[in-house]
């Protein structure tokens, strides 16, 4: 951000000599060159002669800020304002400080006051307008642009600003009116892309204000000026659909598909022009319409996966066409050895029935048989490459995994490995199979094996880090990840710098799993930080847009920004953040035991026994190396922090406040975990989550927990009703209802009478016909015998209600083995919950708690033999021994890893 202008000397001041004015000019120059130390000396010297000169005082303030003395700068800035209440420079300066502190509402206030004191300053208005866009203060923004135009009527940027403001406010007709004036009067010399952009922007405005005929005729009349022909054509088609001119629309999208057969949007619009809303709800008649069209297109575009695949989506599984298409589609992948066949067919498994997956299974089993026996594909006499068999097995392994045939899936991938041990993709799939069955440690090792085969592959490098994180081997993950990022900085710094949100989220989850809530917060807050940066990106594009006239893209961008918190990475981070805060509320942060080691040592101490990072290290030498590196790095950082005595004056003068040189002030997340208002912190994320994802079941359920802490019972009911709409039988609805009524009973004296009345009335609705809480719980447990999640929660609540440990234990422990719905990962989640919340709040009997955890773990171990989480922690020899047996079944590959 540029500093505000230092225009106009202060009025009513002692008249300055030419020399003084020159000094001020030098000061300005020094400031611009970021030579802050020299600047401050100059300013101080000047102020000795003119102690009340506002300009000099403001420069001094800004320089202090530049020197990173933020508090002093603010104090100085405020003082200047206090002494010169009507000085616009003083207010402008203070606003600048706030803006750079990202305190935008305050900055806006200051800029407004500055503007009131000098209505002629363009710079103030420009600075103010940027903040107004940022704050979506459209009326204010409109005023700013109008004033700017009054001051500089010939400046095009102000016109553009005015037009987009009207557009964003929803006054399309005004925007169009001014845009026309602008094009006719001011911008006639515009040619090429700039002219094209303005025309297309007008089309967008007309389209949005439903002036469809005008939009169409503009597209036609100005066609020769339009550069972005594809957008124009696509828009024309869309408008035809809006106007229900389906024949015309069909022609447009047919043309577009010819140009680019792989654009799914064109296909979707084409279906729409045929009266087909979605491929999932297609009718028989509609299938007959599409069939010949796609048959023809298929012939014309043999290389377009999209065209080749679409018929598989709409053709019914029992039709002859489906099988023929399937054979044709998969042949290409098998013969050429393209690994993504399964990924391409995956969507066919999603439909409500499993008919298609059965046809696929039969087809590939027959193909496999034919390849083994004759070396040919079904219905062909052409000898295939040996690799065709490999890729067929490779596909089948993934298919069996998808349909839950664990044994068969491993059998196929192991045979594929035996056939072509050098195929890297084999190991990727095997790692995936292990992961799906809960052997996260084995999966990480398997993936690392794949990575070692091709160290130049960025995909393998990142994915292997991901697998390590999933196995809670964070040190390993960080080591692997250093191959794709700057290895000289810490991983924490790098992921933040690169906005690598998947890593941040996975890291947060891993820390949470192993009980390090503070570090979990630290990782997850990095995701939030990245989103804040996305929001601030808005400042960067305004000037670019003014120059290039990319108004369409700019408006789309601002609209995207409005919805940015809808994105999954934020939702994921926010959900876990709330969870962690709620956990910390029940189980406050405890400082880890101090070790003599530096940060690396603490990190290892924070690891739980389930995944000590050193056990996975084949050589013991690596750990000290890492520590040494870190130490070096710390030294480096320290050096940068305290600059050495200046050898050259100039160098010392240029103080750059670089984020990179900042020392991590909260390396363990301690500060984040010990804020006094944990619930408020949770609430902050909850609010954003619910605002942008009002239909998220998880968000509402987390909200219930927060509301329970705050005793906002009516809000709980509201959220639960919302959840019921989406997932009527969600087990957590039950949990929250019971928890709420239990709490109300306990705190009956202090609960508001009218609230109690409502809760009493709602009972009939929420208790499923039961008359008491206990009856409700027992009835619920009996009703949902087949669901693991329901049983688990029923047992937990029963214990809270009756302290009947035998019965609760029975429900919770047997939920693992008795129901088909249990999966290793939700059992793991339950176990984490048992350990971190249920058994840890000190309110339950210790022997019961120990017994419960032990028995639950035992049952999980039997049910999910591959899942490491339920296995006891291994010693070093055990784990390496294990790895060779689990990693590979063929001797060849074992040699490959152990050499």
């Amino acid at each position: 951000m540029a500093p505000p202008t230092k225009t106009a000397a202060a009025p009513k001041e002692v008249k300055l000599t030419t020399k003084d004015t020159n000094t001020l000019k030098t000061l300005s120059k020094l400031f611009d060159e970021r030579k802050y130390k020299k600047a401050i000396k100059q300013a101080d010297a000047f102020l000795k002669i003119h102690p009340t000169n506002v300009d000099a005082l403001c420069f001094r303030t800004l320089t202090l800020y530049g020197l990173n003395l933020k508090e002093e700068a603010h104090a100085a800035g405020k003082q200047v304002v206090r002494d010169n209440m009507s000085s616009f420079t003083a207010w402008h300066t203070l606003g600048f400080l706030h803006r750079n502190d990202k305190n935008f509402p305050e900055a806006l206030k200051c800029f407004r006051t500055a503007h009131r004191n000098n209505k002629e300053s363009v710079q103030i208005l420009k600075d103010m307008s940027l903040i107004q866009i940022f704050q979506r203060d459209y009326p204010g923004l409109l005023d700013s642009y109008k004033t700017l135009l009054h001051l500089q009527p010939g400046y095009k940027g102000h016109w553009i600003g005015l037009i987009t403001t009207y557009h964003l406010m929803g006054s399309h007709s005004q925007a169009i009116f001014i845009l026309d004036e602008f094009i006719n009067v001011l911008d006639q010399e515009n040619e090429g892309i700039r002219r094209s952009e303005l025309i297309l922007y007008k089309v967008q405005l007309l389209d949005e204000s439903n002036e469809l005929d005008k939009a169409l005729s503009l597209l036609k009349s100005d066609a020769k000026f339009i550069v972005d022909k594809l957008w124009a054509k696509n828009k024309t088609g869309e408008i035809y659909i809006k106007k229900n001119m389906l024949k015309e629309a069909e022609k447009v999208f047919t043309d577009l598909i010819k140009l680019n057969p792989d654009n799914m949007n064109y296909h979707k619009k084409f279906w729409e022009s045929k009266g087909i809303k979605s491929i999932e709800t297609i009718t028989k008649e509609q299938i007959e319409i599409l069939k010949p069209i796609y048959a023809e297109w298929g012939e014309l575009n043999p290389k377009s996966f999209v065209i080749q695949k679409i018929p598989l989506n709409f053709l019914p599984s029992d039709s002859e066409g489906f099988l023929i298409r399937l054979a044709k589609f998969s042949r290409h992948f098998l013969v050429k050895g393209i690994p993504s066949l399964f990924n391409n067919l995956k969507s066919l498994y999603n439909g409500g029935d499993d008919k298609k997956s059965k046809v696929i299974e039969k087809f590939f089993e027959e193909t496999l048989q034919s390849l083994i026996e004759k070396g040919t594909l079904v219905g062909s006499d052409q000898q295939e490459s040996p690799s065709t068999l490999l890729w067929c097995r490779y596909f089948l392994a993934q298919h069996y995994d998808r349909v839950g045939k664990i044994k068969e899936s491993f059998e196929q991938i192991d045979k594929a490995i035996e056939h072509t041990p050098t195929n890297v993709d084999n190991y990727i799939v095997r790692a995936k199979l292990l992961k799906h069955n809960g052997d996260l440690v084995g999966a990480a090792q398997q993936y690392e094996h794949a990575r070692q085969l091709d160290l130049a592959d960025r995909y393998l490098n990142t994915k292997s880090a991901l697998y390590a994180l999933r196995a809670d081997e964070r040190d390993n993950a960080s080591k692997i990840f250093k191959t794709v990022i700057d290895p000289n900085d810490s991983t924490m710094f790098n992921i933040s710098e690169y906005q690598c949100m998947w890593y941040e989220n996975e890291l947060g989850q891993s820390y949470y799993r192993t009980g390090d809530n503070a570090m979990s917060l630290k990782a997850l807050h990095l995701v939030d930080k990245a989103f804040t940066e996305f929001i601030e990106d808005q400042f960067d594009f305004f000037n670019h847009m003014q120059k290039k006239l990319t108004l369409r893209a700019y408006v789309d961008f601002l609209r995207w920004e409005d919805q940015v918190y809808k994105n999954k990475p934020f939702l994921d981070a926010a959900k876990l953040l709330v969870k962690v805060y709620l956990t910390l509320l029940k189980k406050p942060y405890v400082k880890p035991v101090e070790t003599t080691q530096s940060s690396a040592g603490v990190a290892t101490a924070a690891e739980t026994a389930s995944a000590p990072p050193t056990t996975t290290e084949p050589t013991a030498t690596t750990t000290p190396v890492v520590k040494e590196n870190e130490k070096k790095q710390n030294n480096k950082q320290n050096n940068k922090q305290t600059p050495p005595p200046p050898p050259k004056k100039d160098d010392d003068d240029e103080v750059e406040v670089d984020e990179k040189n900042k020392v991590d002030e909260d390396p363990l997340g301690e500060k984040l975990a010990t804020v006094p208002n944990l619930l408020e912190q949770a609430n902050k994320f909850l609010k954003t989550m619910l605002k942008f994802n009002p239909d998220s079941v998880d968000a509402h359920l987390l909200a219930c927990q927060c509301y329970l802490e705050k005793r906002k019972y009516l809000l709980i009911i509201q959220s639960l009703l919302k959840v019921k709409q989406v997932v009527p039988n969600h087990p957590l609805i039950f949990k929250n209802v019971v928890a709420m009524y239990r709490q109300v009973e306990q705190q009956a004296d202090t609960t508001d009478a009218s609230v109690k009345k409502i809760l009493e009335d709602e009972k009939a609705n929420l208790f499923d016909g039961a008359t008491s809480l206990l009856q409700f719980v027992e009835q619920y447990a009996a009703k949902h015998k087949d669901s693991h999640a329901h049983q688990f929660i029923a047992g937990e609540q029963l214990y809270h209600l009756t302290k009947d440990s035998a019965k609760a234990l029975d429900l919770i422990v047997n939920s693992v083995s008795s129901s088909a719905t249990a999966s290793w990962d939700n059992c793991r989640e339950n176990l984490v919950h048992l350990k971190s919340v249920f058994c840890d709040i000190g309110k339950i009997d210790q022997s019961f708690a120990d017994n419960l955890i032990q028995q639950y773990t035992e049952k999980c171990k039997i049910r999910f033999p591959l899942a490491n989480y339920f296995q006891p922690p291994k010693s070093i020899e055990q784990s390496t021994e294990e790895s060779t047996t689990t990693t590979t079944t063929t001797t060849t590959t074992t040699n490959g890893t152990s050499n």
């Binding site: 050895g337 295939e384 490459s385 040996p386 072509t420 130049a456 590959t893 040699n895």
Partner: protein, 184 residues
């Protein structure tokens, strides 16, 4: 009906990034195993390695060493240290392509002879004979940990341009010129 497999076969270079694949290939196919030191040293001269890919998957490889001339003034020779093709991918012309590479290398650099050791019961003997290698001698107890322990020394003479013989001592090794082009 057979298809032309040769269009699927491509030769490629060894790099420090894909050396893991070569190691895995050799361990899978060869009865003799080599230690990490072996794989570290073959990346540079005087070693020459060529990899064979089938549809982008490594299925065969040859590693050679340039040996000094037997008598001073004579041209250098080439010794094949490892040569293998995955069992499933044999008889497709992959070995032939690798051998062609070896011979072209010899011709280019005036190496007058290719030699190799092969276990006396190996299927590979027929393969080498097919390409005009002859058995020069039998060495007893050549191998230590595998049975049978005897091997043949096989060789093939490469016609050399006599005028170039004197320059062979300074001939550059193609391995050194290998641009370490990355496959992905």
């Amino acid at each position: 009906m057979a298809i032309d497999y040769s269009s699927f076969i491509e030769l490629g270079d060894l790099t420090d990034k894909n050396i893991g694949q070569l190691k895995l290939l050799n361990t899978s196919v060869l009865p003799v195993s080599y230690d990490d030191k072996f794989y570290q040293k073959i990346l540079a001269a005087p070693f020459i390695t060529k990899l064979a890919f089938y549809n982008d998957v490594l299925v065969g490889a040859v590693s050679c060493r340039v040996d000094p001339p037997v008598n001073a003034g004579e041209p250098q020779t080439l010794y094949i240290m490892t040569f293998c093709v995955l069992a499933a991918y044999r008889k497709l012309g992959i070995g032939k392509k690798l051998l062609e590479f070896v011979e072209t290398t010899c011709a280019k650099n005036n190496y007058c002879k290719v030699t190799l050791h092969v276990q006396v019961n190996s299927d590979a003997i027929d393969f080498y004979k097919k390409y005009d290698f002859t058995i020069e001698s039998t060495i007893q107890n050549y191998y230590r940990n595998i049975e049978p322990t005897d091997c043949y020394l096989m060789a093939k003479l490469i016609p050399v341009d006599p005028s170039a013989v004197t320059t062979t001592t300074t001939a550059t090794n193609p391995a050194a010129n290998n641009n370490n082009k990355n496959k992905k």
